[in-house]
Amino acid sequence: MAERILMIDDDNRLAGMVQDYLGGAGFRVTVAGTGRDGEALLKRETFDAVILDLMLPDADGLDLCRKLRATSDVPILMLTARGEPMDKVVGLEIGADDYLAKPFEPRELQARLRAILRRKGGSGTAPSEILRFGRLEIDKGARVVRVDGEERTITSYQFAILLALAERAGRVLSRDALMDVLKGEKLEAFDRSVDVHISRIRAAIEDDPKKPRRILTLRGTGYVFARDQDR
């Protein structure tokens, strides 16, 4: 069944194009041009997710988001053309599930929508601790890794390496330090060096394993897990 999306944005032409694009990807998009229309539609019908613009002619997107959050737990993806770092923090703090700055790639909008829909879909179980880096999710509880909400297969040792790196994102981790962290892990293949495991992980989670964006090699020094992976 097609997922129903409500897009609240006063830019009719953009909304129309997003409607076409997401329609082609199997979503059913309804557009509301004002905050009031959006609220009315949400009361009348049920939606699987809301795309909410931060600047609306009749309402402040942040207020609207807060209001929606008070009454429902529908996933909210915020759009903004302001792009101030403050907006992002505030948006996520008041209950938006994700945030995308205009101009955006429709492909990315689609991927993020899928990710927040999946996240909400699995909310029956207790929320386990999840590390998020843009489109990448590392679920510590379930010990699985997802890109765009899609599970990628890696071995449990590789997961341990990935987690060790991700928990130190933005810092250089030498091979020795990495081995130290992994000491407690059961080695399943002694003959393979860390580098081989890293390239397996890359094959699983990088868009182009030859041009890694997530796990970077620093020759002669070690590895870095990128903090800011999508832009």
Binding site: D11, R82, G83, R107, G170, T217, L218
Partner: protein
């Protein structure tokens, strides 16, 4: 710095000291003024009439002096005109020197003396028995007390004035430091209070202007990004039908415009705040590697941790790499981070045409374009200006050098934590 209230206060103290000194001096001068009013002559005649003749026997003279002493309760001594003691009553008189004797009241160690020369040439010296201290001392002491009282009373007044001025100065400094909400308390109704009021009014106006300016920029950014978002979506909607080269160049243009808007916003935001808003430990090598990876480059070097604003440092690295990619020709771009004796040094080198020595400083100016170079390429023209601003904001510097083997090398050094 010379504190204003101290200057005021020292001035008051000096004025008081001068006043007391002048008063004492005047007293002395007035006192020393040697007048012989008529009453002295009258007193001499009368006293002469009371006392026995000059050639009367000594015991008579002694008796007469003692009688006088009982009546007047003065220590009294009678001398010959040549200074020999004839008779005395009461305490021993001070040494009497005819050479220096003068009629009238005189201060002496034992109290004021009254000296008279009788018409027949004898000298009579009387000293007040009630030992009153020196009146000069009393006057000086009284004046001193008044001076101390004035000094003590003046201190809080002067200090209060100084404090208000200092508070005003702190307010001006805060405003200058970028805190546009800085206001000062208006105390009293004098000139300082009026100054505080005008300061508050000016600060209010500045805040309004800057806020309006920022709002304008934020709104302009919104207005510019809205059509950009449409173009980006439209480019994606072109789908497979479109020429991939056209689509990619369209995407590139959208990304460039977006970057330009962001840099203008960032530059105006930085203008408003002269210091760093956030500080955290940042692994510069990791950051450089991350940024380099977006251009399919690898960073090399040693991990160095600096304390700074991660978003700004990321912008610094990105701008340098972007600059190298645009103007650095075809050759490889190298990104390295090293620790050079307490300084974290980031080098980004390219193999482009390089920058003439004369222009290596000027290229950090906003929107500066190399002279002589034909169309050197597109660019925001703000990228390097932001690099320099961010480096300085972190207590470091950015310079452009010639790279070994042609091209340019941009070197940023930052203090290590």
């Amino acid at each position: 710095m010379q504190r204003l209230y101290l200057q005021f206060y020292v001035t008051i103290l000096v004025v008081l000291a001068v006043f007391v000194g002048a008063a004492v001096l005047l007293w002395r001068v007035a006192d020393d003024d040697n007048r012989t009013p008529q009453y002295l002559d009258v007193a001499a005649e009368l006293t002469g009439a009371l006392l026995p003749e000059i050639n009367a026997p000594r015991p008579d003279q002694q008796r007469a002096i003692e009688a006088l002493q009982r009546k007047l309760r003065f220590d009294i001594a009678l001398y010959e005109s040549d200074g020999d003691l004839i008779a005395m009553a009461g305490k021993v008189p001070p040494r009497f020197n005819v050479e220096r004797a003068r009629v009238g009241w005189r201060r002496g160690p034992g109290g004021p003396n009254f000296t008279l020369q009788l018409p027949d040439g004898r000298w009579l010296v009387a000293r007040q028995v009630r030992e009153r201290p020196n009146p000069i001392f009393w006057i000086a002491a009284a004046l001193g007390m008044v001076a101390i009282a004035v000094a003590i009373a003046a201190f809080p007044v002067v200090r209060g004035l100084g404090r208000r001025l200092e508070r005003l100065r702190a307010g001006v400094d805060r405003l200058g430091g970028g805190d546009l909400a800085a206001r000062v308390k208006v105390e009293g109704r004098d000139e300082v209070a009026a100054l505080a009021e005008s300061f508050n009014r000016s600060a209010q106006r500045i805040e309004e202007l800057v806020t309006a300016h920022r709002m304008l920029l934020a709104n302009a950014s919104h207005e510019l990004r809205t059509p950009l978002a449409r173009i980006a979506v439209a480019a994606a909607l072109l789908g497979q039908n479109a020429d991939p080269k056209t689509r990619d160049s369209l995407k590139q243009d959208v990304a460039e415009l977006d970057q330009l808007i962001e840099q203008i916003l960032l530059a105006s935001r930085l203008e408003a705040v002269p210091t760093l808003e956030h500080r955290e430990p940042v692994d510069l090598l990791a950051l450089a590697a991350e940024e380099a990876s977006h251009y399919d480059l690898e960073a090399t070097g040693q991990p160095v941790t600096v304390s700074g604003d991660r978003t700004l440092l990321r912008r610094l690295v990105r701008n340098l790499v972007e600059n190298a990619r645009r103007y650095g020709g075809e050759g490889p771009i190298t990104v390295s981070v090293t620790d050079e004796g307490g300084r974290a040094v980031l080098n980004v080198s390219d193999h482009g045409p390089g920058v003439p020595e004369a222009e290596r400083q000027r290229i950090f100016e906003p929107f500066y374009r190399l002279a002589g170079g034909a169309e050197t390429g597109r660019g925001s023209g703000l990228g390097l200006a932001l690099v320099l601003d961010i480096a300085r904001r972190h207590g470091g510097d950015a310079v452009c050098l010639a790279a070994a083997g042609g091209g340019s090398r941009f070197r940023v050094d930052l203090p290590v934590v």
